[in-house]
Symmetry: C2
Subunit: 316 residues, 2 copies
Amino acid sequence: MKALRYENNRLSVADTAKPPGGTEAVVRVTLAGICNTDLEIVRGYAGFAGTLGHEFVGVVESAADASLIGARVVGEINAGCGRCALCQAGDPRHCPERTVLGIVGRDGAFAEFLQLPVVNLLRVPAEVSDYQAVFVEPLAAAWGITERVSVTPETRVAVIGDGKLGLLCAQALAQTGAQVTLIGKHQHKLRIAAKRGIETEVASAMNPPRKVDVVVEASGAGAGFAQALDMLRPRGVLVLKSTFHGATEMDAARLVVDEISVVGSRCGRFAPALDLLKRDAVDVESLISEEQPLADGVHAMERAASHGVLKVLLKP
Amino acid sequence: MKALRYENNRLSVADTAKPPGGTEAVVRVTLAGICNTDLEIVRGYAGFAGTLGHEFVGVVESAADASLIGARVVGEINAGCGRCALCQAGDPRHCPERTVLGIVGRDGAFAEFLQLPVVNLLRVPAEVSDYQAVFVEPLAAAWGITERVSVTPETRVAVIGDGKLGLLCAQALAQTGAQVTLIGKHQHKLRIAAKRGIETEVASAMNPPRKVDVVVEASGAGAGFAQALDMLRPRGVLVLKSTFHGATEMDAARLVVDEISVVGSRCGRFAPALDLLKRDAVDVESLISEEQPLADGVHAMERAASHGVLKVLLKP
Protein backbone atom coordinates (compact mmCIF):
# COMPACT_ATOMS: atom_id res chain seq x y z
CA MET A 1 0.00 0.00 0.00
CA LYS A 2 0.96 3.67 -0.38
CA ALA A 3 2.22 5.61 2.66
CA LEU A 4 3.87 8.96 3.36
CA ARG A 5 6.97 8.01 5.29
CA TYR A 6 9.77 9.84 7.05
CA GLU A 7 12.90 7.71 7.16
CA ASN A 8 16.63 8.42 7.15
CA ASN A 9 15.80 12.13 7.43
CA ARG A 10 13.87 11.93 4.17
CA LEU A 11 10.19 12.30 3.41
CA SER A 12 8.69 10.22 0.56
CA VAL A 13 5.60 8.38 -0.58
CA ALA A 14 6.60 4.72 -0.52
CA ASP A 15 5.07 1.34 -1.14
CA THR A 16 4.90 -0.51 2.16
CA ALA A 17 3.25 -3.60 3.56
CA LYS A 18 -0.35 -3.26 4.68
CA PRO A 19 -0.53 -3.41 8.51
CA PRO A 20 -1.13 -7.01 9.62
CA GLY A 21 -3.63 -6.16 12.35
CA GLY A 22 -3.00 -9.11 14.65
CA THR A 23 -4.84 -8.41 17.90
CA GLU A 24 -5.55 -4.86 16.68
CA ALA A 25 -8.10 -3.47 14.24
CA VAL A 26 -7.15 -2.49 10.69
CA VAL A 27 -8.73 0.72 9.44
CA ARG A 28 -8.94 1.87 5.82
CA VAL A 29 -8.15 5.60 5.98
CA THR A 30 -10.76 7.76 4.27
CA LEU A 31 -9.23 11.15 5.03
CA ALA A 32 -6.26 12.36 7.05
CA GLY A 33 -5.08 15.79 8.22
CA ILE A 34 -1.62 17.31 8.43
CA CYS A 35 -0.78 18.77 11.84
CA ASN A 36 2.08 21.07 12.84
CA THR A 37 3.45 18.15 14.85
CA ASP A 38 3.95 16.29 11.55
CA LEU A 39 5.96 19.25 10.30
CA GLU A 40 7.98 19.27 13.54
CA ILE A 41 8.68 15.53 13.19
CA VAL A 42 10.19 16.17 9.78
CA ARG A 43 12.40 18.76 11.51
CA GLY A 44 13.60 16.05 13.90
CA TYR A 45 11.16 16.43 16.81
CA ALA A 46 10.49 13.17 18.70
CA GLY A 47 13.05 11.22 16.66
CA PHE A 48 10.30 9.37 14.84
CA ALA A 49 10.82 7.25 11.73
CA GLY A 50 7.96 5.58 9.83
CA THR A 51 4.58 6.51 8.40
CA LEU A 52 3.49 9.97 9.54
CA GLY A 53 0.00 11.14 10.50
CA HIS A 54 -2.29 10.93 13.49
CA GLU A 55 -5.42 12.81 12.39
CA PHE A 56 -7.78 10.58 10.42
CA VAL A 57 -11.22 9.17 9.82
CA GLY A 58 -11.69 5.76 8.27
CA VAL A 59 -13.64 2.52 8.00
CA VAL A 60 -12.85 -0.62 9.98
CA GLU A 61 -11.62 -3.35 7.66
CA SER A 62 -10.85 -6.06 10.20
CA ALA A 63 -11.19 -6.41 13.96
CA ALA A 64 -11.58 -9.10 16.60
CA ASP A 65 -14.94 -7.49 17.40
CA ALA A 66 -16.76 -8.36 14.14
CA SER A 67 -19.53 -5.85 14.85
CA LEU A 68 -17.01 -3.07 14.22
CA ILE A 69 -16.21 -4.14 10.66
CA GLY A 70 -17.49 -1.54 8.23
CA ALA A 71 -17.97 1.08 10.95
CA ARG A 72 -16.85 4.65 10.30
CA VAL A 73 -14.38 5.46 13.06
CA VAL A 74 -11.83 7.84 14.46
CA GLY A 75 -9.08 6.62 16.79
CA GLU A 76 -7.37 7.89 19.93
CA ILE A 77 -3.70 8.05 19.11
CA ASN A 78 -2.05 6.83 22.34
CA ALA A 79 -1.82 3.04 22.61
CA GLY A 80 -0.80 1.96 26.11
CA CYS A 81 0.73 -1.19 27.54
CA GLY A 82 -2.64 -2.15 29.02
CA ARG A 83 -1.01 -3.29 32.27
CA CYS A 84 0.25 -0.17 34.12
CA ALA A 85 -1.91 1.74 36.60
CA LEU A 86 -2.63 4.49 34.05
CA CYS A 87 -3.80 2.03 31.38
CA GLN A 88 -5.82 0.07 33.94
CA ALA A 89 -7.57 3.35 34.79
CA GLY A 90 -8.49 3.69 31.12
CA ASP A 91 -6.11 6.50 30.23
CA PRO A 92 -2.97 5.44 28.33
CA ARG A 93 -1.99 9.00 27.41
CA HIS A 94 0.93 8.96 29.85
CA CYS A 95 1.68 5.23 29.84
CA PRO A 96 5.51 5.14 29.86
CA GLU A 97 5.49 2.31 27.31
CA ARG A 98 2.90 3.88 25.01
CA THR A 99 3.19 4.08 21.27
CA VAL A 100 1.56 7.05 19.55
CA LEU A 101 0.09 6.87 16.05
CA GLY A 102 2.56 8.42 13.63
CA ILE A 103 4.57 10.01 16.45
CA VAL A 104 6.14 7.37 18.71
CA GLY A 105 6.93 3.80 17.62
CA ARG A 106 3.81 3.23 15.53
CA ASP A 107 3.09 3.81 11.84
CA GLY A 108 0.53 6.52 11.27
CA ALA A 109 -2.46 7.60 9.23
CA PHE A 110 -0.88 9.00 6.03
CA ALA A 111 -1.44 5.64 4.40
CA GLU A 112 -4.16 3.56 2.82
CA PHE A 113 -4.47 1.53 6.03
CA LEU A 114 -3.45 1.82 9.67
CA GLN A 115 -3.86 -0.35 12.74
CA LEU A 116 -4.86 0.57 16.29
CA PRO A 117 -6.16 -1.30 19.35
CA VAL A 118 -9.93 -1.76 19.18
CA VAL A 119 -10.24 0.10 22.48
CA ASN A 120 -8.87 3.23 20.77
CA LEU A 121 -11.64 3.38 18.15
CA LEU A 122 -14.81 5.48 18.42
CA ARG A 123 -17.71 5.31 16.00
CA VAL A 124 -18.44 8.56 14.21
CA PRO A 125 -22.08 9.70 14.61
CA ALA A 126 -24.03 9.99 11.34
CA GLU A 127 -24.41 13.76 11.83
CA VAL A 128 -20.62 14.22 11.62
CA SER A 129 -19.15 14.29 8.11
CA ASP A 130 -15.72 12.92 7.25
CA TYR A 131 -14.55 16.51 6.78
CA GLN A 132 -15.54 17.24 10.37
CA ALA A 133 -14.46 13.91 11.86
CA VAL A 134 -10.92 14.31 10.59
CA PHE A 135 -10.61 17.20 13.08
CA VAL A 136 -11.55 15.19 16.15
CA GLU A 137 -7.96 14.65 17.31
CA PRO A 138 -6.88 18.32 17.33
CA LEU A 139 -10.29 19.37 18.67
CA ALA A 140 -9.90 16.85 21.49
CA ALA A 141 -6.47 18.34 22.19
CA ALA A 142 -8.06 21.80 22.35
CA TRP A 143 -10.84 20.63 24.66
CA GLY A 144 -8.20 18.80 26.74
CA ILE A 145 -7.21 22.20 28.15
CA THR A 146 -10.32 21.98 30.33
CA GLU A 147 -8.88 18.84 31.94
CA ARG A 148 -5.82 20.80 33.02
CA VAL A 149 -7.20 24.24 33.91
CA SER A 150 -10.50 25.38 35.40
CA VAL A 151 -12.37 27.37 32.75
CA THR A 152 -15.79 28.75 33.71
CA PRO A 153 -18.08 31.49 32.36
CA GLU A 154 -16.20 33.90 34.67
CA THR A 155 -12.80 33.06 33.20
CA ARG A 156 -11.17 35.60 30.90
CA VAL A 157 -9.19 33.64 28.31
CA ALA A 158 -6.84 34.83 25.59
CA VAL A 159 -5.67 32.44 22.88
CA ILE A 160 -2.46 33.54 21.15
CA GLY A 161 -2.09 32.28 17.59
CA ASP A 162 -4.70 32.13 14.83
CA GLY A 163 -3.40 28.94 13.24
CA LYS A 164 -5.32 25.66 13.20
CA LEU A 165 -4.69 24.93 16.86
CA GLY A 166 -5.51 28.44 18.05
CA LEU A 167 -8.77 28.49 16.12
CA LEU A 168 -9.80 25.17 17.64
CA CYS A 169 -8.74 26.19 21.16
CA ALA A 170 -10.64 29.47 20.99
CA GLN A 171 -13.82 27.82 19.72
CA ALA A 172 -13.62 24.90 22.14
CA LEU A 173 -13.00 27.10 25.18
CA ALA A 174 -15.81 29.46 24.16
CA GLN A 175 -18.14 26.47 24.63
CA THR A 176 -17.50 26.65 28.38
CA GLY A 177 -19.10 30.10 28.35
CA ALA A 178 -15.74 31.71 29.11
CA GLN A 179 -14.91 35.16 27.72
CA VAL A 180 -12.45 34.19 24.98
CA THR A 181 -10.33 36.51 22.85
CA LEU A 182 -8.35 35.10 19.93
CA ILE A 183 -5.21 37.07 19.11
CA GLY A 184 -3.55 36.57 15.75
CA LYS A 185 -1.96 38.20 12.77
CA HIS A 186 -4.29 37.22 9.91
CA GLN A 187 -7.67 38.82 9.36
CA HIS A 188 -8.94 35.92 7.22
CA LYS A 189 -8.11 33.43 9.97
CA LEU A 190 -9.48 35.56 12.80
CA ARG A 191 -12.71 35.87 10.83
CA ILE A 192 -13.38 32.13 11.23
CA ALA A 193 -13.56 32.58 14.99
CA ALA A 194 -15.35 35.93 14.78
CA LYS A 195 -18.17 34.30 12.79
CA ARG A 196 -18.73 32.05 15.79
CA GLY A 197 -19.06 35.07 18.07
CA ILE A 198 -15.54 35.01 19.47
CA GLU A 199 -13.79 38.30 20.12
CA THR A 200 -10.67 38.70 18.01
CA GLU A 201 -7.73 41.06 18.06
CA VAL A 202 -4.89 41.70 15.63
CA ALA A 203 -1.65 41.11 17.52
CA SER A 204 0.24 44.10 16.18
CA ALA A 205 -2.58 46.48 17.04
CA MET A 206 -2.49 45.70 20.73
CA ASN A 207 -2.43 48.62 23.15
CA PRO A 208 -1.66 48.11 26.82
CA PRO A 209 -2.23 44.41 27.28
CA ARG A 210 -5.41 43.38 29.04
CA LYS A 211 -5.10 41.21 32.14
CA VAL A 212 -6.69 37.80 31.70
CA ASP A 213 -6.91 34.70 33.87
CA VAL A 214 -5.74 32.18 31.29
CA VAL A 215 -3.60 32.54 28.19
CA VAL A 216 -3.30 29.67 25.72
CA GLU A 217 -0.02 29.78 23.81
CA ALA A 218 -0.89 28.25 20.44
CA SER A 219 1.38 30.33 18.21
CA GLY A 220 4.25 27.89 18.26
CA ALA A 221 6.62 30.80 18.56
CA GLY A 222 8.85 31.63 21.48
CA ALA A 223 7.66 35.23 21.29
CA GLY A 224 4.16 34.06 22.24
CA PHE A 225 5.54 33.12 25.62
CA ALA A 226 6.71 36.61 26.56
CA GLN A 227 3.52 38.15 25.19
CA ALA A 228 1.49 35.69 27.25
CA LEU A 229 3.21 36.77 30.47
CA ASP A 230 2.43 40.41 29.66
CA MET A 231 -1.26 39.58 29.37
CA LEU A 232 -1.72 37.51 32.52
CA ARG A 233 -3.04 38.74 35.84
CA PRO A 234 -1.06 37.72 38.96
CA ARG A 235 -1.64 34.03 39.67
CA GLY A 236 -2.83 33.60 36.09
CA VAL A 237 -2.28 30.43 34.07
CA LEU A 238 -0.32 30.09 30.84
CA VAL A 239 -1.31 26.98 28.90
CA LEU A 240 1.34 25.62 26.54
CA LYS A 241 -0.12 23.68 23.61
CA SER A 242 2.57 23.95 20.94
CA THR A 243 5.15 21.20 20.81
CA PHE A 244 7.70 23.41 19.17
CA HIS A 245 11.19 22.08 19.12
CA GLY A 246 14.08 23.40 21.15
CA ALA A 247 14.58 25.45 24.28
CA THR A 248 12.61 28.57 25.11
CA GLU A 249 13.86 31.39 27.27
CA MET A 250 11.80 31.88 30.37
CA ASP A 251 11.96 34.68 32.92
CA ALA A 252 11.74 32.47 36.00
CA ALA A 253 11.82 35.39 38.45
CA ARG A 254 8.70 36.79 36.81
CA LEU A 255 6.86 33.48 37.22
CA VAL A 256 7.76 33.61 40.91
CA VAL A 257 6.95 37.29 41.55
CA ASP A 258 3.59 37.18 39.75
CA GLU A 259 2.98 33.57 40.87
CA ILE A 260 2.16 32.45 37.33
CA SER A 261 1.41 28.80 36.52
CA VAL A 262 2.64 27.37 33.22
CA VAL A 263 0.62 24.30 32.34
CA GLY A 264 1.54 21.89 29.56
CA SER A 265 -1.37 20.32 27.69
CA ARG A 266 -1.13 17.63 25.01
CA CYS A 267 -3.86 15.13 24.06
CA GLY A 268 -7.53 15.23 24.98
CA ARG A 269 -10.22 12.57 24.95
CA PHE A 270 -12.17 12.01 21.76
CA ALA A 271 -15.69 11.54 23.16
CA PRO A 272 -16.31 15.19 24.17
CA ALA A 273 -14.76 16.37 20.89
CA LEU A 274 -17.09 14.14 18.86
CA ASP A 275 -19.95 15.59 20.85
CA LEU A 276 -18.87 19.15 19.99
CA LEU A 277 -18.79 18.19 16.30
CA LYS A 278 -22.17 16.46 16.52
CA ARG A 279 -23.68 19.65 17.94
CA ASP A 280 -21.89 21.71 15.28
CA ALA A 281 -20.56 23.75 18.19
CA VAL A 282 -17.22 24.30 16.48
CA ASP A 283 -16.62 25.29 12.86
CA VAL A 284 -13.84 23.04 11.63
CA GLU A 285 -14.64 22.93 7.92
CA SER A 286 -13.62 26.58 7.45
CA LEU A 287 -10.15 25.51 8.55
CA ILE A 288 -9.68 23.33 5.47
CA SER A 289 -7.34 25.07 3.04
CA GLU A 290 -6.93 22.26 0.54
CA GLU A 291 -7.13 18.53 -0.09
CA GLN A 292 -4.33 16.62 -1.78
CA PRO A 293 -4.04 13.02 -2.90
CA LEU A 294 -1.83 10.86 -0.66
CA ALA A 295 0.38 10.23 -3.70
CA ASP A 296 1.31 13.94 -3.57
CA GLY A 297 2.01 13.76 0.16
CA VAL A 298 5.45 15.37 0.00
CA HIS A 299 4.01 18.38 -1.81
CA ALA A 300 1.08 18.44 0.61
CA MET A 301 3.49 18.69 3.54
CA GLU A 302 5.18 21.64 1.86
CA ARG A 303 1.81 23.26 1.36
CA ALA A 304 0.93 22.72 5.03
CA ALA A 305 4.13 24.53 6.00
CA SER A 306 3.34 27.49 3.73
CA HIS A 307 2.43 30.90 5.05
CA GLY A 308 -1.30 31.49 5.42
CA VAL A 309 -2.31 27.86 4.83
CA LEU A 310 -4.48 26.21 7.47
CA LYS A 311 -5.46 22.53 7.32
CA VAL A 312 -4.23 20.42 4.42
CA LEU A 313 -6.06 17.11 4.07
CA LEU A 314 -4.69 13.97 2.50
CA LYS A 315 -6.93 11.60 0.54
CA PRO A 316 -5.59 8.04 0.17
CA MET B 1 19.68 56.16 62.69
CA LYS B 2 21.97 53.50 61.15
CA ALA B 3 20.78 51.58 58.08
CA LEU B 4 22.30 49.20 55.53
CA ARG B 5 21.46 50.85 52.22
CA TYR B 6 21.91 50.01 48.56
CA GLU B 7 22.09 53.17 46.49
CA ASN B 8 23.83 54.12 43.25
CA ASN B 9 24.89 50.47 42.86
CA ARG B 10 26.74 50.68 46.16
CA LEU B 11 26.10 48.99 49.49
CA SER B 12 26.96 50.87 52.70
CA VAL B 13 25.93 51.45 56.28
CA ALA B 14 24.68 55.03 56.35
CA ASP B 15 23.15 57.48 58.79
CA THR B 16 19.58 58.15 57.67
CA ALA B 17 16.47 59.77 59.08
CA LYS B 18 14.33 57.66 61.38
CA PRO B 19 11.07 56.72 59.59
CA PRO B 20 8.39 59.30 60.43
CA GLY B 21 5.55 56.79 60.83
CA GLY B 22 2.66 59.02 59.88
CA THR B 23 -0.39 56.77 59.52
CA GLU B 24 1.85 53.73 59.86
CA ALA B 25 3.47 52.05 62.85
CA VAL B 26 7.15 52.52 63.65
CA VAL B 27 8.95 49.39 64.80
CA ARG B 28 12.34 49.23 66.55
CA VAL B 29 14.10 46.31 64.88
CA THR B 30 15.45 43.75 67.36
CA LEU B 31 16.86 41.27 64.87
CA ALA B 32 16.87 40.97 61.08
CA GLY B 33 17.83 38.19 58.66
CA ILE B 34 19.66 38.31 55.33
CA CYS B 35 17.82 36.51 52.52
CA ASN B 36 19.08 35.50 49.08
CA THR B 37 16.70 38.09 47.66
CA ASP B 38 18.79 40.76 49.41
CA LEU B 39 21.85 39.37 47.67
CA GLU B 40 19.99 39.39 44.33
CA ILE B 41 18.93 43.02 44.88
CA VAL B 42 22.58 43.99 45.24
CA ARG B 43 23.13 42.23 41.88
CA GLY B 44 20.45 44.49 40.37
CA TYR B 45 17.32 42.37 40.77
CA ALA B 46 14.11 44.42 41.15
CA GLY B 47 15.92 47.70 40.57
CA PHE B 48 15.54 48.61 44.24
CA ALA B 49 17.35 51.49 45.93
CA GLY B 50 17.08 52.17 49.66
CA THR B 51 17.38 50.32 52.95
CA LEU B 52 17.52 46.56 52.40
CA GLY B 53 15.92 43.81 54.46
CA HIS B 54 12.50 42.22 54.86
CA GLU B 55 13.01 39.56 57.53
CA PHE B 56 12.76 40.99 61.04
CA VAL B 57 11.34 40.91 64.52
CA GLY B 58 10.95 44.07 66.55
CA VAL B 59 9.05 46.12 69.11
CA VAL B 60 6.38 48.68 68.23
CA GLU B 61 7.57 52.16 69.12
CA SER B 62 4.62 54.18 67.84
CA ALA B 63 1.25 53.36 66.25
CA ALA B 64 -2.21 54.85 65.90
CA ASP B 65 -3.47 51.82 67.85
CA ALA B 66 -1.84 52.63 71.21
CA SER B 67 -2.42 49.09 72.51
CA LEU B 68 0.25 47.92 70.07
CA ILE B 69 3.01 50.09 71.51
CA GLY B 70 5.64 47.91 73.18
CA ALA B 71 4.35 44.75 71.51
CA ARG B 72 6.85 42.30 70.05
CA VAL B 73 5.88 41.95 66.39
CA VAL B 74 6.73 40.60 62.97
CA GLY B 75 5.36 42.24 59.81
CA GLU B 76 3.99 41.05 56.48
CA ILE B 77 6.14 42.69 53.85
CA ASN B 78 3.59 43.62 51.13
CA ALA B 79 1.82 46.93 51.77
CA GLY B 80 -1.12 47.41 49.39
CA CYS B 81 -3.06 50.43 48.20
CA GLY B 82 -5.96 49.42 50.43
CA ARG B 83 -8.50 50.24 47.72
CA CYS B 84 -8.19 47.61 44.94
CA ALA B 85 -10.21 44.39 44.95
CA LEU B 86 -7.21 42.38 46.17
CA CYS B 87 -6.53 44.70 49.10
CA GLN B 88 -10.24 44.87 49.95
CA ALA B 89 -10.19 41.06 50.12
CA GLY B 90 -7.41 41.33 52.69
CA ASP B 91 -4.55 40.13 50.49
CA PRO B 92 -2.26 42.88 49.18
CA ARG B 93 0.41 40.44 47.96
CA HIS B 94 -0.47 41.10 44.31
CA CYS B 95 -1.78 44.65 44.61
CA PRO B 96 -0.39 46.36 41.50
CA GLU B 97 0.46 49.47 43.55
CA ARG B 98 2.02 47.59 46.45
CA THR B 99 5.28 48.49 48.09
CA VAL B 100 7.36 45.69 49.56
CA LEU B 101 9.56 46.11 52.61
CA GLY B 102 13.16 46.46 51.46
CA ILE B 103 12.31 45.21 47.95
CA VAL B 104 9.92 47.58 46.16
CA GLY B 105 9.58 51.29 46.96
CA ARG B 106 9.84 50.99 50.76
CA ASP B 107 12.83 51.13 53.08
CA GLY B 108 13.50 47.83 54.79
CA ALA B 109 14.49 46.16 58.01
CA PHE B 110 18.30 46.43 58.04
CA ALA B 111 17.98 49.54 60.18
CA GLU B 112 17.33 50.59 63.74
CA PHE B 113 13.72 51.40 62.85
CA LEU B 114 11.25 50.63 60.07
CA GLN B 115 7.67 51.55 59.37
CA LEU B 116 4.78 49.41 58.13
CA PRO B 117 0.96 49.69 58.09
CA VAL B 118 -0.53 48.52 61.39
CA VAL B 119 -2.55 45.91 59.47
CA ASN B 120 0.73 44.24 58.45
CA LEU B 121 1.87 43.60 62.03
CA LEU B 122 1.34 40.36 63.95
CA ARG B 123 2.14 39.90 67.63
CA VAL B 124 4.74 37.22 68.34
CA PRO B 125 3.52 34.58 70.84
CA ALA B 126 5.56 34.34 74.02
CA GLU B 127 6.65 30.79 73.13
CA VAL B 128 8.46 32.04 70.02
CA SER B 129 11.93 33.51 70.62
CA ASP B 130 13.35 36.40 68.58
CA TYR B 131 15.72 33.90 66.97
CA GLN B 132 12.73 31.93 65.75
CA ALA B 133 10.48 34.88 64.92
CA VAL B 134 13.06 36.38 62.58
CA PHE B 135 12.38 33.36 60.30
CA VAL B 136 8.63 33.91 60.02
CA GLU B 137 8.82 35.60 56.60
CA PRO B 138 10.80 32.88 54.78
CA LEU B 139 8.87 30.17 56.62
CA ALA B 140 5.61 31.79 55.49
CA ALA B 141 7.00 31.77 51.94
CA ALA B 142 7.74 28.07 52.29
CA TRP B 143 4.30 27.30 53.67
CA GLY B 144 2.83 29.46 50.90
CA ILE B 145 3.51 26.57 48.50
CA THR B 146 0.44 24.88 50.00
CA GLU B 147 -1.67 27.80 48.77
CA ARG B 148 -0.55 27.12 45.22
CA VAL B 149 -0.34 23.32 45.02
CA SER B 150 -2.33 20.56 46.66
CA VAL B 151 -0.01 18.71 49.07
CA THR B 152 -1.51 15.81 51.02
CA PRO B 153 -0.09 12.82 52.92
CA GLU B 154 -0.23 10.91 49.60
CA THR B 155 1.90 13.47 47.75
CA ARG B 156 5.50 12.56 46.95
CA VAL B 157 7.53 15.77 47.15
CA ALA B 158 11.16 16.44 46.32
CA VAL B 159 12.80 19.71 47.36
CA ILE B 160 15.92 20.56 45.36
CA GLY B 161 18.42 22.73 47.21
CA ASP B 162 19.62 22.46 50.81
CA GLY B 163 20.03 26.19 51.35
CA LYS B 164 17.93 28.23 53.77
CA LEU B 165 14.86 28.18 51.56
CA GLY B 166 15.09 24.48 50.72
CA LEU B 167 15.46 23.55 54.39
CA LEU B 168 12.39 25.60 55.29
CA CYS B 169 10.34 24.26 52.35
CA ALA B 170 11.18 20.64 53.17
CA GLN B 171 10.30 21.07 56.85
CA ALA B 172 7.13 23.04 56.16
CA LEU B 173 5.81 20.62 53.53
CA ALA B 174 6.61 17.64 55.78
CA GLN B 175 4.06 19.14 58.20
CA THR B 176 1.31 18.27 55.70
CA GLY B 177 2.19 14.60 56.16
CA ALA B 178 3.56 14.45 52.58
CA GLN B 179 6.47 12.17 51.75
CA VAL B 180 9.25 14.76 51.41
CA THR B 181 12.80 14.20 50.18
CA LEU B 182 15.34 17.01 50.42
CA ILE B 183 18.05 16.85 47.77
CA GLY B 184 21.21 18.85 48.28
CA LYS B 185 24.97 18.87 48.10
CA HIS B 186 25.98 19.48 51.72
CA GLN B 187 25.84 16.78 54.38
CA HIS B 188 25.86 19.32 57.24
CA LYS B 189 22.84 21.12 55.79
CA LEU B 190 20.92 17.97 54.91
CA ARG B 191 21.44 16.82 58.48
CA ILE B 192 19.26 19.69 59.77
CA ALA B 193 16.29 18.25 57.87
CA ALA B 194 17.23 14.64 58.60
CA LYS B 195 17.09 15.36 62.35
CA ARG B 196 13.45 16.31 61.83
CA GLY B 197 12.73 12.96 60.18
CA ILE B 198 12.92 14.15 56.57
CA GLU B 199 14.47 11.86 53.99
CA THR B 200 17.57 13.39 52.42
CA GLU B 201 19.67 12.57 49.40
CA VAL B 202 23.01 13.85 48.16
CA ALA B 203 22.45 15.25 44.68
CA SER B 204 25.57 13.81 43.10
CA ALA B 205 24.85 10.31 44.39
CA MET B 206 21.49 10.09 42.65
CA ASN B 207 20.74 6.93 40.70
CA PRO B 208 17.86 6.81 38.21
CA PRO B 209 15.67 9.68 39.32
CA ARG B 210 12.55 8.77 41.24
CA LYS B 211 9.21 9.96 39.90
CA VAL B 212 7.50 12.35 42.30
CA ASP B 213 4.29 14.39 42.16
CA VAL B 214 5.77 17.74 43.16
CA VAL B 215 9.30 19.13 42.91
CA VAL B 216 10.18 22.38 44.66
CA GLU B 217 13.06 24.18 42.92
CA ALA B 218 14.83 26.00 45.75
CA SER B 219 18.40 25.72 44.53
CA GLY B 220 18.42 29.07 42.77
CA ALA B 221 20.35 27.44 39.93
CA GLY B 222 19.14 26.92 36.37
CA ALA B 223 20.40 23.35 36.56
CA GLY B 224 17.78 22.63 39.20
CA PHE B 225 15.12 23.18 36.58
CA ALA B 226 16.30 20.41 34.25
CA GLN B 227 16.86 18.08 37.19
CA ALA B 228 13.34 18.80 38.41
CA LEU B 229 11.81 17.78 35.07
CA ASP B 230 13.75 14.50 35.21
CA MET B 231 12.23 13.73 38.59
CA LEU B 232 8.57 14.51 37.87
CA ARG B 233 5.89 12.03 36.93
CA PRO B 234 3.64 12.96 33.96
CA ARG B 235 1.26 15.76 35.01
CA GLY B 236 3.56 16.51 37.94
CA VAL B 237 4.07 20.01 39.34
CA LEU B 238 7.31 21.97 39.46
CA VAL B 239 7.20 24.75 42.07
CA LEU B 240 9.56 27.65 41.46
CA LYS B 241 10.58 29.47 44.65
CA SER B 242 13.90 31.08 43.76
CA THR B 243 13.80 34.60 42.41
CA PHE B 244 17.08 34.19 40.61
CA HIS B 245 17.91 36.83 38.12
CA GLY B 246 17.90 36.37 34.36
CA ALA B 247 16.39 34.03 31.81
CA THR B 248 16.29 30.27 32.21
CA GLU B 249 16.21 27.81 29.35
CA MET B 250 13.07 25.74 29.34
CA ASP B 251 12.25 22.73 27.17
CA ALA B 252 8.69 23.77 26.32
CA ALA B 253 7.96 20.64 24.25
CA ARG B 254 8.74 18.53 27.28
CA LEU B 255 6.28 20.49 29.44
CA VAL B 256 3.64 19.83 26.77
CA VAL B 257 4.38 16.12 26.17
CA ASP B 258 4.53 15.24 29.87
CA GLU B 259 1.85 17.82 30.71
CA ILE B 260 3.94 19.33 33.49
CA SER B 261 2.76 22.39 35.45
CA VAL B 262 5.32 24.99 36.50
CA VAL B 263 3.97 27.01 39.40
CA GLY B 264 5.57 30.19 40.68
CA SER B 265 5.32 30.81 44.43
CA ARG B 266 6.42 33.93 46.29
CA CYS B 267 5.10 35.18 49.64
CA GLY B 268 2.99 33.30 52.17
CA ARG B 269 0.81 34.47 55.05
CA PHE B 270 2.46 34.95 58.45
CA ALA B 271 -0.24 33.49 60.73
CA PRO B 272 0.27 29.81 59.79
CA ALA B 273 4.05 30.28 59.91
CA LEU B 274 3.86 31.75 63.42
CA ASP B 275 1.77 28.76 64.37
CA LEU B 276 4.41 26.36 63.03
CA LEU B 277 7.04 28.17 65.11
CA LYS B 278 4.85 28.17 68.21
CA ARG B 279 4.47 24.39 67.92
CA ASP B 280 8.23 24.05 67.30
CA ALA B 281 7.23 22.10 64.19
CA VAL B 282 10.13 23.50 62.20
CA ASP B 283 13.75 23.84 63.31
CA VAL B 284 14.84 27.29 62.25
CA GLU B 285 17.51 27.99 64.83
CA SER B 286 19.86 25.39 63.31
CA LEU B 287 19.83 27.52 60.16
CA ILE B 288 21.59 30.41 61.92
CA SER B 289 25.21 30.53 60.83
CA GLU B 290 26.20 33.76 62.49
CA GLU B 291 25.03 37.09 63.93
CA GLN B 292 26.65 40.38 62.98
CA PRO B 293 26.14 43.93 64.23
CA LEU B 294 24.22 46.15 61.80
CA ALA B 295 27.27 48.42 61.72
CA ASP B 296 29.12 45.56 59.96
CA GLY B 297 26.27 45.07 57.50
CA VAL B 298 28.42 45.18 54.37
CA HIS B 299 30.63 42.43 55.74
CA ALA B 300 27.55 40.50 56.86
CA MET B 301 26.19 40.55 53.30
CA GLU B 302 29.50 39.14 52.05
CA ARG B 303 29.31 36.42 54.68
CA ALA B 304 25.73 35.59 53.63
CA ALA B 305 26.95 35.12 50.05
CA SER B 306 29.78 32.82 51.15
CA HIS B 307 29.83 29.13 50.35
CA GLY B 308 28.36 26.93 53.06
CA VAL B 309 26.88 29.79 55.09
CA LEU B 310 23.16 29.61 55.93
CA LYS B 311 21.33 32.43 57.73
CA VAL B 312 23.27 35.53 58.75
CA LEU B 313 21.43 37.71 61.26
CA LEU B 314 21.88 41.43 61.74
CA LYS B 315 21.60 43.02 65.17
CA PRO B 316 20.88 46.77 65.15
